[in-house]
Amino acid sequence: MLELKDVNTYYGNIHALKGISLTVNDGEIVTLIGSNGAGKSTTLRTIQGLIKPRSGSVVLDGVELQKLPAHEVATLGVAQSPEGRMIFPRMTVLENLEMGAYVRRDLSSFQNDLEHAFTLFPRLKERISQKGGTLSGGEQQMLAMARAMMAKPKILLLDEPSMGLAPILVELIFDIIKKLNQEGTTILLVEQNALMALSIAHRGYVLQTGEVVLADKAEKLLKDPMVQKTYLGVE
C-alpha cells in the first residue's frame, strides 16, 4: 500500500537519504533498523511530507505523496508518533487526543475510539485532564501513540517508541504495537532496539548512512550474521 521508490532527501547539502526504496503491504508491521544518523527518522519525515525529497516518489494507494504538504498527507491516512514525542505540553491529555482526530470528518465513533485507546493505555485515562507536559516520559510516549491512532490512519508511522523508556515499559509498548497490528493497523516502525523490533515485525529493512543495505523477512534478519553483529550485539 505504501511504496517508496528511489527517494533522495537532502538537509541543505547533506545527502540524508540516498535512493531509498521500500514497500509496506496492507496489514504488515515493517521495521526500519539502523544506527543514529542512518536516515530512519528522515525516511518517516519524508513520507509524512515534513521534508520534501529532491527526487523519487512516495506512493500511498496510488496517490503520490511527495508533492503534497504535510497536512494533506495526514488527511490521506498517514499518522505518526514522531521522534521526541511532540505532544502538546499545555493541552490536556483529552485535548491532545482530540487533536489526533483532527483530520476525521466523521466523529460519530470518536467516543468509542477514545474508550479503545484507554483500554490500550489505561494510564492515559487516569491522566485525562492533566496537561501533556506534566506526564512522565513513558506516559508521553503512550499519548503520542494514542494520538496518532485517533486519526484512524491507513498506515501508522512509529518513530522510536521505546526511546528512553524503562525495560518494563518497552515490553508494554511493543505488546500494544502487536495488538494494534492484529486489529488491522498497518505499521512502519523505526527502532534502535533492533531485537525487539524484529521480534514483532513481519519484514525489516536495515539502513546505513542513508541507504538500504539489507531487506528481508524479520526472522531471517534476526539470523543474519551482519545484523547480529552490528545491531543485536551477538558476537
Binding site: 509524512q48 511530507g49 515534513l50 504538504p69 504535510a70 497536512h71 494533506e72 495526514a74 488527511t75 499518522a79 505518526q80 514522531p82 521526541g84 514525542r85 511532540m86 505532544i87 502538546f88 505540553p89 499545555r90 493541552m91 485535548e95 482530540e98 487533536m99 489526533g100 483532527y102 483530520v103 496537561k131 501533556g132 507536559g133 506534566t134 516520559g137 508521553q140 494520538r147 486519526a151
Partner: protein, 371 residues
C-alpha cells in the same frame, strides 16, 4: 549560610532605603511628591475611585489590543509591530463609516445606533482583513528566516500603515472635520455616545441621580461590556472550538500540528484575522471613549498594549487581558496623581523591569517539556 543570607538581605534593604530616600528627595522637583499625593488621596478618596474607573475603561481597550500581540506572538513568535497601527486604522475606519452614513450629523437615536453598529462591523472586518493581508504579504515568506527578518519587516509595515493614516487624515471628502490643513494634527472623533444619550434624554453620567461626586458614564459601561464580551468570546473560542484548539496546537508544536493534518498557514491567517478584528473593535471603542483620531495614535497604544502583553506573559491570552487592565490602571493613576508626561516613562519602565526580572510575565507560559 544564615549569615550570608542575612548580609544579602541587609544590602538589599540598604539599597531600597537609599532609593526611597532619593525618590522622596528628588521626586517633588519632577512632580513625584509622595506626601502631597498621599494628602490628596486622604482629602479626596473618591478621586481614587474615579481614576480606578478611568483606568479600567482604558485598560479594557489596551487589553483588547494586547490580545492581538499575544496571540500572534504565541503562534509565530513574532512581535507584530504593525498591530498598533491596525488599531489606528480601526479608529479611522469607524470614523469614516460614521461620517459617510451621515451619523455624525444625526440626532436621531435609531440612526445613531445603526451607524455605530455598522461602524463596528466594518471596522472589525476591515482590520481583520488588513492584518491577515499584512501577514500574507510581509511575514509568510519569512516564516523560516532568522527571527530578526520578520521583525524588521513588521516595523516596515508599521511605518507604511502610519503613513496611510497620515494621508487618510487629510481626506476631507471622507470626513469633513479632517479639514484641509493636512493629516498631521490630531483630529476629533465626535462624542457619538454622548450625543446619542443626550438625544434620548438620559444623563450620560450613570451616577448623576445618586448624588455621588463620581463620573461613571455610559461610555465606561459600554467599553467595559464590549471588552468583556470580546474577551469571553475569544477565550471560549480558543478553549472550545476546533479552530481554537488547532491554534493552540500550532503554537505549541508546529511540526506536530502539521502531522495531525492541521493546515498551519490557514491557522496563522485565522489568528491574524482575529487579532485584527479585535484591534478594529478597540479602534471604535477608543474613538468613542477618548474622542480623538490621530495617525500616530497606534504607536503609543501599541507600545502600551505590547507592555501589557509582556506584563501578563506574552503568548498567554488570560495574561494579555490582566496586563491590559494593570497598564490601564497604572496609566490612569500616573495621569491623575503624577503628571501625564510621566505616564509613558512609567509604562516603559515597567516593560524594562519585567524584561529584566521576570521575562515570562505574571502568568508566564511554562515552556513545559520539549522532549
Amino acid at each position: 549560610m544564615e549569615t550570608t543570607k542575612f548580609k544579602f538581605n541587609l544590602r538589599r534593604f540598604t539599597f531600597s532605603a537609599l532609593i526611597l530616600y532619593l525618590v522622596f528627595l528628588l521626586g517633588p522637583i519632577v512632580g513625584l511628591d509622595i506626601p502631597a499625593i498621599a494628602a490628596s488621596i486622604k482629602a479626596n478618596p473618591l478621586q481614587l475611585v474615579q481614576f480606578l474607573i478611568i483606568g479600567i475603561s482604558n485598560g479594557a481597550i489596551i487589553a483588547i489590543i494586547a490580545l492581538g500581540y499575544t496571540m500572534v506572538y504565541g503562534i509565530i513568535e513574532l512581535i507584530n509591530f504593525a498591530h498598533g497601527d491596525v488599531y489606528m486604522i480601526g479608529v479611522f475606519t469607524s470614523l469614516t463609516v460614521l461620517s459617510l452614513t451621515g451619523t455624525l450629523e444625526s440626532k436621531d437615536p435609531g440612526k445613531i445606533i445603526f451607524g455605530l453598529v455598522l461602524a463596528l462591523v466594518i471596522a472589525v472586518v476591515f482590520c481583520a482583513i488588513l492584518n491577515a493581508a499584512i501577514e500574507r504579504l510581509a511575514y509568510r515568506r519569512l516564516r523560516n528566516a532568522p527571527r530578526l527578518a520578520p521583525l524588521i519587516s513588521a516595523i516596515g509595515m508599521s511605518f507604511i500603515i502610519e503613513n496611510i493614516g497620515l494621508m487618510w487624515a487629510a481626506q476631507a471628502w471622507l470626513v469633513p472635520s479632517f479639514g484641509t490643513t493636512g493629516g498631521a494634527s490630531q483630529k476629533s472623533f465626535p462624542d457619538m455616545l454622548g450625543i446619542l444619550f443626550t438625544s434620548m434624554g438620559w444623563d450620560i453620567n450613570l451616577l448623576a441621580s445618586t448624588g455621588i461626586a463620581l463620573r461613571f458614564t455610559i461610555k465606561d459601561l459600554l467599553v467595559i461590556i464590549l471588552a468583556v464580551t470580546l474577551m469571553t468570546g475569544l477565550y471560549l473560542f480558543v478553549q472550545r472550538t476546533k479552530l481554537g484548539k488547532a491554534m493552540r496546537a500550532t503554537a505549541q508544536n508546529r511540526d506536530a500540528a502539521k502531522m495531525l493534518g492541521i493546515n498551519i498557514d490557514r491557522v496563522i491567517s485565522a489568528t491574524f484575522l482575529i487579532g485584527g478584528g479585535l484591534a478594529g473593535a478597540a479602534g471604535l471603542m477608543a474613538g468613542l471613549y477618548n474622542n480623538t483620531a490621530w495617525w500616530f495614535m497606534g504607536f503609543r497604544a501599541g507600545l502600551q498594549s505590547f507592555t501589557a502583553a509582556v506584563l501578563g506573559g506574552i503568548g498567554n491570552i488570560t495574561g494579555g487581558m490582566l496586563g491590559g487592565f494593570l497598564i490601564g490602571l497604572l496609566a490612569s493613576f500616573s495621569d491623575g496623581y503624577l503628571n501625564a508626561r510621566w505616564t509613558n516613562a512609567l509604562v516603559f519602565a515597567t516593560l524594562v523591569l519585567i524584561l529584566l526580572f521576570r521575562p515570562t510575565g505574571l502568568l508566564g507560559e511554562q515552556t513545559g517539556q520539549k522532549a
